[in-house]
Symmetry: C2
Subunit: 333 residues, 2 copies
């Protein structure tokens, strides 16, 4: 029976993958693997990287929580951020992963032990076990190093040239196996150059995905990031992603439900025009569904990065339902 399960692999960072995995976890007849970007260098993660020399735990933590079948208290524990003292702003889950890397000697091995502790349904795999310092070169010749620093740079104004890693990184062997065995690979959603592309540019990712018989599903982002993807339309996401992948995506999952007026107003006030992704992708691969979440997003006051987190998000149940439809009816092909 388990051999008939559809093997789904998600590729992304923290928040976006969390949403997708939380929804997919409740689907029957699938097995789940999350491949997670390792480029994060902000907040609690940055402190742990700097002070302890560990790999960035933040994104992996969110995926572990999404797939944990443990009690609500344990899931809350993983996301709990200390409010005072020397542990201030650290999330417990980040500390757990940092300690496990130290105890087991290897980040991905630590993730495996954490999965066991958290009763994770499926598998969470860091895309690489190497230090993955993200870099971007600008057309002027300048180089920006670090995901956070890149996030704060207006790449569109300064001229984006190339995205790469400071040092050589190697695709995690388990990630390679999962990509080869996958029936479906879901790429995103997530901040484009900070969460998605840092997976796709790991050498061997592209090659492995080409060898794989998996169909690729691309849930297009709902919003653009200023200075990175401002004014991008759905077709830009498809085009750019296919460039990194070196192959076509098979399904383009598009939201056809407008955000609430309140959401739009709040967003425009904060971000201005061109942040809502326009749907211009008229192609048989398009799958249009209502995908937006109208839930009020609660921010954690101890999360130093809360103001950077998007408040127009996909709804995990809606996205899971659409993925289930793609798998069952194999639309459009």
């Amino acid at each position: 029976m388990s051999q008939k399960k559809k093997k789904i692999v998600t590729v992304g960072g923290g928040t976006g993958s969390y949403t997708v995995l939380s929804g997919l976890k409740n689907l029957e007849g699938i097995s789940l693997t999350a491949i997670v970007s390792m480029a994060d260098n902000g907040g609690s993660t940055r402190i742990l990287r700097d002070e302890l020399g560990v790999l960035p735990p933040g994104d992996v933590r969110q995926c572990l929580v999404a797939l944990s079948e443990h009690s609500e208290a344990v899931r809350k524990l993983m996301s709990y951020r200390f409010a005072h003292g020397s542990l201030k702003s650290h999330s417990f889950g980040n500390i757990l992963l940092a300690a496990l890397e130290k105890v087991t000697g290897r980040f991905s091995q630590g993730v495996r032990v954490a999965s066991e502790i958290l009763k994770v349904k499926g598998e969470v795999i860091p895309v690489t076990d190497n230090e993955a310092d993200l870099c971007i070169s600008l057309t002027g010749g300048k180089k920006i190093k670090g995901q956070i620093e890149i996030g704060n740079t207006d790449l569109q104004k300064k001229g984006f040239k190339k995205i790469f890693f400071a040092k050589k990184v190697k695709l995690n062997e388990r990630a390679r196996e999962a990509l080869l065995a996958a029936d479906y690979v879901i790429i995103g959603p997530g901040t484009y150059y900070e969460s998605l592309v840092p997976n796709l540019i790991v050498p061997e990712f592209k090659k492995t995905l080409k060898k794989s018989g998996a169909k690729i599903i691309l849930p297009v982002n709902l919003t653009n990031k200023k200075g990175h993807t401002l004014y991008w339309k759905a077709s830009d996401y498809v085009k750019n992603t296919e460039k990194y992948l070196g192959r076509q995506v098979d399904f383009v999952l598009l939201n056809n439900q407008p955000p609430s007026l309140a959401q739009i107003r709040k967003y425009k006030l904060k971000e201005g025009d061109g942040v809502l992704v326009e749907d211009d992708f008229f192609d048989p691969r398009a799958v249009r569904r209502p995908l937006i979440s109208h839930a009020l997003i609660k921010y954690d006051k101890n999360d130093v990065r809360q103001k950077f987190r998007s408040f127009i998000r996909h709804d995990s149940k809606k996205i899971a339902k659409s993925v289930a439809e793609i798998i069952k009816r194999k639309i459009p092909r």
Copy 2:
């Protein structure tokens, strides 16, 4: 079948209870409950108490590790101490318990969730859920507050008068139930005024133990603490403990195996005379067995309190074997 299991309750602090529980865990036909002192205010525990206002996790952590049936990696994780940065010297397990107290709202509830995560065989119960600041009054009228401060005071020179808590503490309801249901209660080993007595002076402890049909086993300490119990003999431990309990102990477990010459030499060099507890307890309740550990104790260089930890210790297997003999043969009565 599980109703026939002998119910054993241990009472103590961190290191001593760890030793007893590690041994007893492997015995068949018993169920284990650890009642743990909450007076600790040193090292990593002190920082967490001061900065986060949580109850002291250190002793409970050690008992959880002793009873955990999880993988070796998880047990190592719990005792892992960070070596650098803002997390320096904190043990991971202490951080876990601090976070769980915050998430669940109550220390003993957090301990329960931790037990679930760690697959604990048996139950670990903090003796109280209240802040338990240990105090000692001296004959001159002076008062010393805090377990560590008490540990650093020469009570024998300055004149010990009374040991008590700064504020009212209440016996944990689960501890009360466990004491009432117990077949055997093992008190110690452990530093006398810092690990053992802070359990016995919790109001209702004495009364509850009197109501209980449990037999009391007292494994007498191997060494005395300078300034606290220097020159105490086995009979002093029995006499003093019975004073706190308001009743007789039923079995006095005494070591009849000398430490190695190397251990004695090292100990005398560091501590002087009168630290090895002499056996002067000639009473039918005495049970004499070889109980000493000859294992080399490895210290954790990131443990700020390592130099205070004893290096003449009970052997967990030997102590468990003796307890099993007491239970089976019911010697001497």
